[in-house]
Amino acid sequence: MVPSPQSKTGPSHGSTPGPSLKLAELKMQFQDAQAGSVTALSLAKWELLGGQAIGIRGPSGAGKSTLLNVISGLLLPTQGSVWWDGCEITQLKEAERDRWRRRNIGFIFQDFHLIPELSALENVLLPLRFDHWRCPPPKRRYGLELLERFGIPRPKQLAATLSRGQQQRVAVARALINQPPILLADEPTASLDRESGDRVTQILLDVAQKEQKTVIVSSHDQQLLKKLSDTYRLAEGQLELQ
């Protein structure tokens, strides 16, 4: 399935969109002690244009997180392939997938998963520590800029002392620090109140629109989903455009 070209958050004219996604003959099965083999995903073909921002909804346990894990390379499917532009990540070795993910994906989690003992800025810069002993000054400046943009007035404030909304905004900044072309968000507003959720939603939409990232959001939040270009429903391992 190809998303609608008239998307609400579609790529701006003249900019370079994020990579496109293609899933082919993808099947994800788990072994369950009682039920035996359970098929979580079964997608013959699913394509997403680069620079789109789409939502995935579905009941709990439908496999939304599994889908995000498969398309990020965290989880290898039982069969089938995942292509991001010309790169078939299902063929990469684990270390290569780590490297690819580090350069291409920004992950946003429902529970933020900041390191509470580090400051907001240290959390944002954390992904840079995987490659660098010291943060490159331009990246540090970019981190400060993101925090300012997302309304975090004190970058040196400990993450543990931030409000939940602020924590999620720091987490979004962390996801963006490497300027990845793809953003994956797993229930990014589920742990937030309406106001904070709206703010995070707006940030995600802004990023998607202005920076032409490919954004995939798994969510139950209708307010969020209706602002995305397309929403797919995941049920019984199948994706269905709503």
Partner: protein, 425 residues
């Protein structure tokens, strides 16, 4: 790659557990270091104290008792040799000098030992402050005796083990039975006031806490023959030559042989039915062998303790890893390489082990210093512990083993698929 930011975060989050682990490592290292350092310091101290004593001749019996009495001035019941042995030795051409030792008196808890001017000169190594005694009413003070040159004192009979508190008033601190016993002895003890005329340099031996008086004065106040004809011209003389006809029993004679071969000849000649002769070094070697065995056992136990500590810590870390799991999974989702997570966990463990070991070395040295100070106070032997290559190697071995064992939990983490940590928490 910089894992330290996360290591510091883990340290901050788990302060108490970290402190506990560091303390356990430090204590186990301190135990091993203390044992090694103490044993070596004790060995060095006792060897140094025995340096001046080449050959000891005494009545047959326990050579260890003789050694402890003569060199370390520990009160022991020693059999007496016939006094003629002393005159024999003194005139033996293989002997440079032979000095009798007479024990049994004290001044304010400090042992008063009777001997000869030659022995004092030898012990002082030519660095005496003042002069050597020339009359029976004169004495030489050890470096730690609280008397000045010119001070007068009167010795009391008895040589109680007052080493716990030398200098304490002799009668005041003794219990009632001891008082009665000493009073009875004192009644038979002539009084003789003596003047300190010289002070020995510090030797780091129990002799620093002894007073040396002419052996004749000790014999005289006990109404014993003084080694000189009371009717002759040397009636009031001190030191050699002694008159064999006026010598009393002697518990120990310190012999300075003319040379190496003579020392062996003399040891052989005086090892018979009436006397025993030995080099202190040979007895010390036997004692060191026993100490060495004990040290080996204790060191082995200390090493086992250290290994148990490491295993305990790593068991704790494996449990702690359950708490880290989700965080590690998130880091992998963010693209952290497996090696990064390995470095974080291994670095955290290595830091615990390293810091604990450094603190443990300091603690062990401190522990050894305290024990040494107590032992020095008790025995007068200068025992100075230090951290040598032996202790450093023992601690280094622990650290290396620890670093090696730390690979296990770190390796487990390295091999775990990212998704396991992300989902199973």
């Amino acid at each position: 790659m910089n894992p330290f930011i996360l290591i510091l975060a883990i340290l901050r989050r788990h302060r108490l557990i970290t402190l506990l682990f560091v303390a356990i490592v430090a204590l186990s290292i301190a135990l091993g270091t203390g044992i090694l350092s103490q044993e070596k310091a004790l060995r060095q101290g006792t060897t140094t104290a025995a340096d001046k004593f080449d050959l000891i001749v005494g009545a047959p019996g326990s050579q260890i008792d003789l050694l402890l009495s003569s060199i370390y001035l520990q009160p022991k019941d020693l059999e007496l040799m016939d006094g003629k042995i002393l005159s024999d030795l003194a005139t033996n051409p293989e002997v440079e000098f032979a000095a009798p030792l007479a024990f049994g008196d004290n001044y304010d808890g400090f042992p008063v030992v009777g001997s000869t001017p030659e022995f004092v000169t030898y012990l002082a190594d030519g660095e005496i402050e003042g002069r050597v005694f020339e009359g029976r009413d004169e004495a030489i003070a050890g470096a730690d005796i609280p008397l000045n040159i010119g001070d007068r004192f009167e010795s009391a009979h008895g040589h109680l083990d007052l080493s716990d508190n030398p200098g304490a008033n002799f009668d005041a601190d003794a219990d009632a039975d001891a008082d009665a016993f000493l009073e009875a002895l004192q009644a038979e003890h002539e009084s003789l006031e003596q003047t300190v005329v010289g002070r020995l340099p510090r030797t780091g031996t129990p002799w620093d806490r002894a007073l040396i008086t002419p052996v004749e004065s000790v014999w005289a106040i006990h109404d014993l023959p003084t080694g000189h004809d009371p009717a002759g011209p040397r009636a009031e003389a001190i030191g050699e030559p002694f008159d064999a006809n006026f010598l009393t029993g002697v518990p120990a004679i310190i012999v300075k042989p003319q040379g190496f071969a003579e020392a062996y000849n003399l040891r052989s000649a005086y090892r018979n039915a009436t006397t025993t002769a030995f080099f202190p070094a040979e007895i010390l070697l036997e004692l060191y062998a026993i100490m060495g065995d004990a040290r080996s056992i204790m060191s082995f136990l200390a090493l086992m303790t250290q290994l148990l500590v490491l295993l305990g810590i790593f068991a704790g870390i494996l449990a702690l890893m359950q708490l880290f799991k989700k965080q590690f999974g998130v880091l992998r989702a963010m693209g952290a390489p497996r090696l990064y997570l390995f470095a974080v966990l291994w670095g955290f463990l290595a830091l615990l082990i390293s810091v604990g070991s450094i603190i443990g070395l300091g603690l062990g040295w401190s522990l050894s210093s305290v024990v040494s100070a107590l032992l020095s106070r008790r025995t007068g032997i200068a025992i100075q512990p230090g951290l040598s290559a032996t202790e450093l190697w023992a601690a280094g071995r622990f650290v290396l083993i620890g670093y090696g064992l730390a690979l296990i939990p770190s390796g487990i983490l390295y091999r775990q698929p990212a998704i396991d940590n992300l989902n199973n928490s």
